[in-house]
């Protein structure tokens, strides 16, 4: 098997923790979390097209359901259910998985899930797009324009500097710039999934499992508003702001974010594993 050895395997009968990485990243972003959860089994699959897995066909818009369907066999193989962890686009996929698999998902802990489609619901409420929707839409349009005019490196720069600040692109070495650039077509498709796959905010009001919403103190306004909206409707929700962090908190502030995830998981220990796979 080509997957790397698991560095920290917990009790075989304990519910697994399934971690979903962010756009342009890889499962390796969770290496520190694996170390922070020594008593748990951590499974961190790639999203579509990462790590040498089959790429998206690009023949139709990518959806969160497409990503969820790829992960669901992994969840189905866990008779005790799973805890989900996700960052950014991976967080959006995690929440979609929770809605689709309420009997198998024990808890969800997400850092700034990019459910940009939720911002569009506010346009109906206010009669015009809210500034947060306009902001992320402008980013999305600029990235698409660049990707489809053979300027993927420019698209990558826009993507990196939107989330990490002006100058972040130039701070990357050429190898990392090339790695991000190579992923921009998929990242562009992920924007499709984040923007246009309508699952209304009300759908998340039906989540019965505990959900932890994490965000960075300095994140962008669109992601801050999304976490606020979710926090208002998810019934069993814990909310936590990470001081000093921005959108890439799970990477730049891994110790603090991982401690929040570990603490949340510990709080779920009293929750009995699922008795039987469906």
């Amino acid at each position: 098997m080509s997957a790397r050895p698991d560095p920290a395997r917990g009790a075989a009968d304990a519910p697994a923790v399934v971690c979903l990485h962010s756009s342009a990243s890889s499962p390796r972003q969770w290496n520190a979390l694996v170390q922070a959860l020594p008593a748990r089994r951590v499974l961190a699959p790639e999203l579509i097209g990462y790590g040498g897995t089959p790429d998206w066909s690009y023949e139709q818009p990518l959806s969160l359901d497409d990503e969820a369907r790829r992960i669901e066999p992994l969840i189905a193989a866990e008779p005790g259910g799973v805890h989900l962890v996700g960052h950014s686009f991976g967080g959006a996929v995690a929440l979609r998985l929770a809605v689709r698999n309420p009997q198998r998902v024990l808890s969800v802990s997400v850092y700034e899930p990019v459910l940009f489609v939720l911002l569009n619901e506010l346009a109906g409420e206010f009669g015009m797009p809210v500034p947060e929707a306009l902001e992320i839409t402008s980013v999305r349009i600029a990235i698409r324009r660049a990707v489809y005019s053979d300027r993927s490196a420019h698209a990558a720069k826009l993507f990196v500097e939107y989330w990490s600040g002006v100058g972040a692109w130039d701070a990357l070495d050429a190898r990392r710039q090339a790695a991000v650039t190579a992923r921009m077509r998929k990242v562009d498709a992920e924007f499709d999934a984040a923007f246009y796959n309508a699952m209304p905010l009300a759908a998340y009001a039906r989540l019965a499992m505990p959900v932890q919403l994490l965000w960075g103190e300095h994140t962008r306004r669109p992601t801050r508003l999304i976490t606020d909206l979710l926090g208002r409707v998810v019934p069993d929700v814990a909310r936590r702001e990470l001081r000093g962090a921005a959108h890439l908190g799970p990477i730049t502030h891994a110790a603090e974010v991982n401690a929040a995830i570990a603490g949340f998981l510990d709080a779920q220990r009293a929750r009995a594993p699922l008795a039987q796979a469906a």
């Binding site: 499962p27 499974l43 500097e161 600040g165």
Partner: protein, 54 residues
């Protein structure tokens, strides 16, 4: 109210400098798709997945 990052991208007033993208990329991630285990991929794991069962 808004400032421009690039000509076509408009940002809310706060400009956040949070450091560099610190994802741990390896050079082999730049390889063309195809170097993977389909059975592993079907279970949600590719070359970099963590925790796959053998």
């Amino acid at each position: 109210m808004y400032t421009a990052l690039e000509d076509e991208v408009f940002l809310a007033p706060e400009s956040i400098i949070s450091g560099v993208l610190a994802a741990d990329f390896d050079e082999d991630e730049l390889d063309a798709p195809g170097d993977h285990d389909f059975a592993a991929a079907e279970m949600g794991f590719g070359r970099d997945g963590i925790g796959a069962r053998s």
